[in-house]
Amino acid sequence: MTTVYAIDVKGLTKRFGNKTVVDQFALQVPKGQVWGFLGPNGSGKTTTIRMLCGLLRPDAGEGTCLGLDILHEGGLIKRQVGYMTQKFSFYEDLSIRENLEFVARLYELKDQRIAVDQSLAELGLTQRQRQLAGQLSGGWKQRLALAACVLHKPALLLLDEPTAGVDPQARRDFWEKIHLLAGDGITVLVSTHYMDEAERCDRIVYLAYGQILAQGTIAEVIKASGLHTYIVSGGDIRGLARALHGQEGVTQVSVFGTTLHVCGVDREALDRAVAPYRAWPGTTWTVAEASLEDVFIHLMAPFRDRIQG
């Protein structure tokens, strides 16, 4: 059976003790796309990814990965999925090459030596293949992990915060590779906290407290938020920020270097709230589209009590 969806799940629920970490999660990811998976820490992203690749057993729900039942065909799914863990989880006391060889053997690849050589060359690791993985810097470890999880030519890649703590150049190279793989028809679900990475995805899914709060293209998500934003520049914007904080109709005030973002859900209420401050000395006010980050902070607002509590 072939489906157009690489991931097609609904009702996925996972509880740890009496805490529901993922609640009624439903997602359909078409083949060959790169989807970003966003949400605050502890929102259930990792748990969801682990359920998709058979590392955790869902308490409820059903669905398929690559047309295979996630509840009963976990073994077959594992053969076609590449999963990159949040924490580096290859062997630090094995060399780069030995790690790749181990993976190649586990997946029973044909022509293992060629596959490993090729993978090393593609990722630019050929020169360092004898180096112990534990001695690598963050960026190189991440390259190794990616090389290892695409070695068996998976049809679906699940990447859990793959670029956390990695420098911009390495992140850019990493994303280039992701899009190359997607071009070959691999589906990618990648969780991240970086807005610029979210913008590199075909679509994004925003998860908080186990529930999907928004999904779609960036433009769709921003539009659906209904958020109105002023960008203020010049003058004492820090003083302005303090003054605007907590005003009726203003949901967010945040300083971005020399500019200030002021957001509200209701255009009129926002205008009323900022009217007295429009003449704040030295400031220029511009109506702008909300940024993705503004939207995410806004989406999280109803949950703020739960973070503190």
Binding site: G54, G75, K87, F88, V103
Partner: protein
Amino acid sequence: MFSSLRRILAVFLKELIQMRRDRMTIGMILAIPIMQLVMFGYAINGDPRNLPTVLRVHEHSVFSRSLITALENTRYFRIVASTTSEARASTMLANGEAAFVLTVPAGFSRAILRGERPSVLLEADASDPAASANAVSALQQLPASVFQQDLKDAGITLPPSAPPFDIVVQRRYNPEGVTALNIVPGLIGVILTMTMTLVTSMAVVKEFERGTMENLLAMPAKPHEVMFGKILPYVLLGYAQVVIIFAAARFLFDVPMAGSYSGLLLIVGIFIAANLSVGFTLSTLATNQAQAMQMTMFFFLPSILLSGFMFPFRGMPNWAQWIGEVLPITHFLRLVRAIMLKGTPIAEMADELWALLAFTAVMWVVAMLRYRRTLD
């Protein structure tokens, strides 16, 4: 000065909090002394009594009956069988069913009455010299006094200078009573228990501790595949250890090899498997390598103290013997000593072999059931 004390206090409080969180460690630290107190205080006894004895009495008379009664009254000997077959008695000594065989010859009474000073033969299983020593010396007190009443009843007076009969003691399997002959084969068991259990338990916990287990579980390796793959190198290591100890036993300590090498290799293999399964099970209980090590100690202590390695098994009270019977090393020690010192064919030790196999099978099932297939 005071600020230094305050910083010491800060570290002290932090340590207390962390210690309280690690319940397992606290539990082990408190449990191990209790365990040692109980084992050393109650279970261990260097003066074992009621040792199983086989009688080969070729004459039933007043004298032989008196001798047997006196024998039992020493409380060192417990008669488990009576036979006239030398072969049967030897087998029982070889497979460990009996510790002594006492042979009273035909014509014993007549020889006593004639003042010929006949001999009774005590064959002792001296493979564990410490276990049999006290019983042997207790027996040697008997000739001087045991027949006084009987002789008086018969109206016979023998010269008081010499006892009416002699006891000839034959220490089988270890005629010189060298302790090393008993200890060195036993060491194979102790060393394998310690290292095999420890390395396996650490090997699996390490995967969880370093986070590599998540990756391993996400790849298409089934639990039993991971288990066997992880364990095989340690089986090889175990055999390497056996070769070293065995070579030392032969060339440094002159321990004989009376039995078959194939039998030895077989039981070593089963015993290694038994310990690896214990190690694997412990690793599924421990959350870090330190805990795995403590649990190994917890298993290791009774293994050396209650198995008959350090102290005579038959000297222990029943409850301690039951614990000992559960431990794989107890059966391994009996097997390895029988094979190396006595040359007992493995077929005669079937009970011990089955016990070892049963332990191993049960432990493997437990290990497989406990092994986590997911991260749940």
